[in-house]
Subunit: 174 residues, 2 copies
């Protein structure tokens, strides 16, 4: 689908298509529909980022809280969103050794206890070792730093999810 | 559950419990968890309303766009949220005559074409005749008036959904 086809979508189809580019937050896509038409995929992405940036701090934390734990309960019980399932599997988070799984579960709990939201990372841009190291290191940050960092990761995730749904922008003619 | 039990919930349980008090917008409950503890159910409700009020206009329209049509496709195909299904059935929206169903479908389309979001009404506070009359009359409003009116209805719906989940506040001692 190219951006002109996106611009022609009624809101229901738009929300169905883009409702999970921010995990479990169809409200974000539903809000951004108001801003159509989009000149390019980049500007659709920018509109989504702008909506997120305009949320109060609690709203940003709310976005993080809509994310599942990495290698957590939802992965084990098969209740991840299809997007998350594919992303976590691709990074090998569904095939941790028993020792790795215990370590990740312990670090996830520590992180959530400390910050009141889950550890969010764009798993497509990281391998398993890197993810576990980040989880361990980011537990030591401040809450404000982690909220900001989590939202940065949300933006990386939504960029890749958008790119899987919309054809790339044509290069500018010279 | 009373308000002190609500205040003791980890965010995951809080979002599971209250994630649909605003239809398909778990982000709202997930954001409001930041504001706990809540002294009373009324103040939990106030925190949710405050979060909604602070959204930009596009965000309010986004909330409306997360709602299904009344007596629409989701009702017919069984894909309504359990909350909506029960509410629509109680108002008799699942048992329209063929003529009523056609009229509602036509008015829903007219409304959505005009405003870019669906007609939202607290069906628990209205009977079938009243709902159809409101749908017909509200089609004539301005977009700004209907966005504001839709959000008022969202607040009535969330109040009743909250009351179904949390025990009422104790009356003040004299």
């Amino acid at each position: 689908m190219d951006i002109s086809a996106v611009n022609a979508l009624p809101y229901e189809d738009f929300v169905n298509l883009f409702g999970n580019v921010v995990e479990k937050c169809p409200l974000v896509a539903a809000a951004v529909w108001t801003k159509r038409p989009f000149v390019s995929l980049s500007l659709l992405e920018a509109a989504i980022n702008e909506f997120i940036d305009a949320l109060p701090e609690a709203g940003k934390e709310g976005i993080l809280r809509c994310h599942p734990d990495l290698a957590g309960r939802d992965l084990q019980s098969g209740t991840l969103s299809p997007d998350s399932r594919e992303e976590q599997a691709r990074a090998g988070m569904d095939a941790l050794s028993s020792a790795e799984a215990s370590r990740v579960a312990r670090l996830n709990e520590e992180y959530k206890q400390r910050f009141g939201f889950p550890f969010v990372i764009c798993v497509r841009l990281n391998d398993k070792a890197n993810i576990v190291r980040e989880l361990s290191e980011r537990c030591l940050n401040t809450r404000a730093a982690e909220s900001a960092r989590g939202i940065e990761e949300v933006k990386k995730i939504l960029r890749l999810r958008l790119q899987a749904l919309v054809l790339p922008d044509a290069p500018h003619k010279l």
